[in-house]
Amino acid sequence: NAGVTQTPKFRILKIGQSMTLQCTQDMNHNYMYWYRQDPGMGLKLIYYSVGAGITDKGEVPNGYNVSRSTTEDFPLRLELAAPSQTSVYFCASSPRVEDTQYFGPGTRLTVL
């Protein structure tokens, strides 16, 4: 099992550009999450999904969009990149609501 994989590992964007952060899990988990991590702030939930076709906003959704067309994939879309979106992004998945979340290795994004 690869677990949770994320691509790319690093990316530099210019202000106003768009990109998609990819996340795939091979554990057949229904629940998937996107977090951003900023220094000294812990992790903040951006969006989450409880199954294919179902997504909802987390704590900091502005400037992001998600889709969940399959159980395995949960891409995160940045439409108009802003410097405030410079962060490390983590995807996670979980088999049940109140259970361990398994994290991917992260994507380090810089917006200049």
């Binding site: 939930l45 989450y48 409880v50 909802d56 049940r96």
Partner: protein, 114 residues
């Protein structure tokens, strides 16, 4: 609002010394508690979790944590720290009925002196 507090942002201990990292969560529905560790440039790895039952839980790498409902705490301990334990540690909580939303503390950075 539901929250998790890790009062210590940075802790330095000598190798071989004991360690306790503090975590307090805000009162709410049944909490499910976690400790994760993050090495530099890496993702988060689960150390241990508490769902129910025995309030003293054992984790990987010799870590343990004790759930104290009366104090809303879930402190992480290790009797003898190794240099490889230097990392950032996050306490997190999921409340029942909260759609699995993990609420993280701000993290505690552990430095280990030789």
């Amino acid at each position: 609002a539901q929250s998790v507090t890790q009062p210590d942002i940075h802790i330095t201990v000598s190798e071989g010394a004991s360690l306790e990292l503090r975590c307090n969560y805000s009162y709410g529905a049944t909490p499910y508690l976690f400790w994760y560790v993050q090495s530099p440039g890496q993702g988060l790895q689960l150390l241990l979790k508490y769902f129910s039952g025995d309030t003293l839980v054992q984790g990987i790498k010799g870590f343990e944590a004790e759930f104290k409902r009366s104090q809303s705490s879930f402190n992480l301990r290790k009797p003898s720290v190794h240099w490889s334990d230097a990392a950032e540690y996050f306490c997190a909580v999921v409340y029942s009925g909260n759609t699995g939303k993990l609420i993280f503390g701000q993290g505690t950075t552990l430095q280990v002196k030789p």
